[in-house]
């Protein structure tokens, strides 16, 4: 069963079965890696809060990521998005750390599960929609009516805009989930080739595997960044209605 490239995505229970009102909320390997990622983030960033004028390495890391995300938010969503900084920061760090912990062999990638990414994306979608309606009232619906479109095309454009808006959580979640799953599956497949081709022919897939590891680390960062920046863009639509 271990040779199956999809086996790594299996979720299994760790410890006893926990049931509340017949709903299974047992602690699983997915939960374990969520907890590990969160604790790692908290430890690293807590070490980075030392009060010194000249920062040490961890403090520098924490402050650089702080200003990196702060700059990303102000560039894409403007100054109005400042109250949502901590959420986007947590989101980026959570996705990044889950992706990165997934790169450790025999570990579990939390973000390779559609349900996790979908819950995050749906939360963002619902939150952004609520923010939009609170800020602009029913005027938020103008988002679906781009300015400068000829009257003939307007019904079509509005339908397309609504579909694209509604597909946001799906595209956001599937992008992250598919990238993580495909990358890990591919690495597993090449790893299987290394074993099956043996000492003679296994070197080529091994080289591929090494190269893919580098690529996957890049993808792990990139997808976290894309996830966060798309959240910023959706937030920008809700905060600064440009019509």
């Amino acid at each position: 069963m271990a040779a199956n490239p999809m086996y790594q995505f299996n979720v299994y229970r760790i410890g006893p079965e926990i049931k509340i009102n017949n709903i299974d909320i047992s602690f699983t390997n997915a939960s374990l890696f969520m907890v590990i990622s969160s604790i790692a983030i908290l430890i690293i960033f807590n070490l980075g809060t030392k009060r010194s004028i000249i920062p040490n390495k961890i403090q520098l890391l924490a402050e650089l990521s702080y200003s990196f995300i702060s700059k990303m938010i102000s560039d894409t969503a403007g100054s109005k998005a400042k109250p949502y900084f901590s959420f986007i920061f947590s989101l980026f760090m959570f996705v990044l750390f889950c992706n990165m912990f997934g790169m450790i062999p025999y570990s579990f990638t939390v973000t390779s599960h559609i349900i996790v990414t979908f819950v995050l994306a749906a939360f963002i979608f619902i939150g952004v929609t609520i923010i939009g309606f609170i800020k602009h009232g029913l005027g938020y619906l103008k988002l679906f009516v781009p300015s400068g479109v000829p009257m003939v095309l307007l019904p079509l454009i509005v339908v397309i805009e609504i579909i694209s808006y509604l597909s946001r959580p799906i595209s956001l979640s599937v992008r992250l989930f598919a990238n993580m799953m495909a990358g890990h599956t591919m690495m597993k497949v090449f790893g299987g080739f290394v074993v099956s081709l043996g000492i003679v022919g296994g070197w080529l897939p091994l080289g591929f595997s090494v190269a893919l590891t580098g690529l996957e680390i890049l993808v792990a960062f990139l997808q976290a960044y894309v996830f966060a920046i798309l959240t910023c863009i959706y937030l920008n639509d809700a905060l600064n209605l440009h019509h």
Partner: protein, 196 residues
């Protein structure tokens, strides 16, 4: 590209096999809803706690640190600017003082030189006057001496000549005739001197 193809292949195979097979036997474990609720529960729990701790405790500290560093740097730049201005001022003051003292020194030197020159001039003038006086006095003295010396010489000449005549002849001669001869001779002599 390769990734896309593999993913599409997996997705396609999933569509055909999922309904027939369970997740364990080759399908995608992601679509097995057995642990969905558990995953959602733990995601909400961990992410919620992470968000709360980050936003309540850690991020304010980091932003505070950044702010204090920024303000400290600005403050330091400000004080540096102030101190630079002060040094510039002091340098200007220093230059001014040096210039002033130079001018003062020059003035003092000039006035002192003038004084000294005046003093020298005065002294020279008074000296010259004194010298002239002395010269006049000396000339007068010389004149007098000239006059008295002639008389004396005449007298001595008369006396010696009378003595000589007495010794030679053994008789006194009339002094008046002698003096007339001597005067006559000395006059001739004087004229010779004056000619020379």
């Amino acid at each position: 590209m390769l990734k896309k193809i593999i993913f599409q292949f997996l997705a396609l195979s999933l569509i055909f096999t999922y309904s027939a097979q369970s997740a364990e036997s080759g399908g995608m474990p992601q679509l097995n809803p057995e642990f969905w609720i558990s995953q959602i529960f733990w995601l909400v729990l961990t992410f919620g706690l992470l968000f709360m701790i980050l936003s309540k405790f850690i991020l304010p500290k980091i932003s505070n640190n950044l702010e204090t560093r920024k303000s400290q740097i600005l403050e330091n730049i400000e004080t540096a600017d102030k101190q630079r201005e002060e040094t510039e001022k002091k340098v200007k003051e220093f230059d001014k003082i040096i210039n002033d003292t130079k001018v003062e020194a020059k003035n003092y030197f000039n006035s002192e030189r003038q004084k000294v020159l005046d003093n020298i001039n005065n002294k020279r003038l008074s000296l010259e006057k004194d010298v002239e006086k002395e010269i006049i006095k000396a000339e007068e003295e010389i004149d007098q001496l000239k006059k008295t010396s002639q008389d004396k010489v005449n007298k001595i000449a008369i006396e010696t000549s009378s003595d000589l005549v007495k010794q030679l002849i053994g008789e006194d001669i009339n002094k008046s005739s002698l003096s007339a001869i001597v005067e006559d001779l000395s006059k001739k002599e004087m004229e010779k001197h004056n000619d020379i």
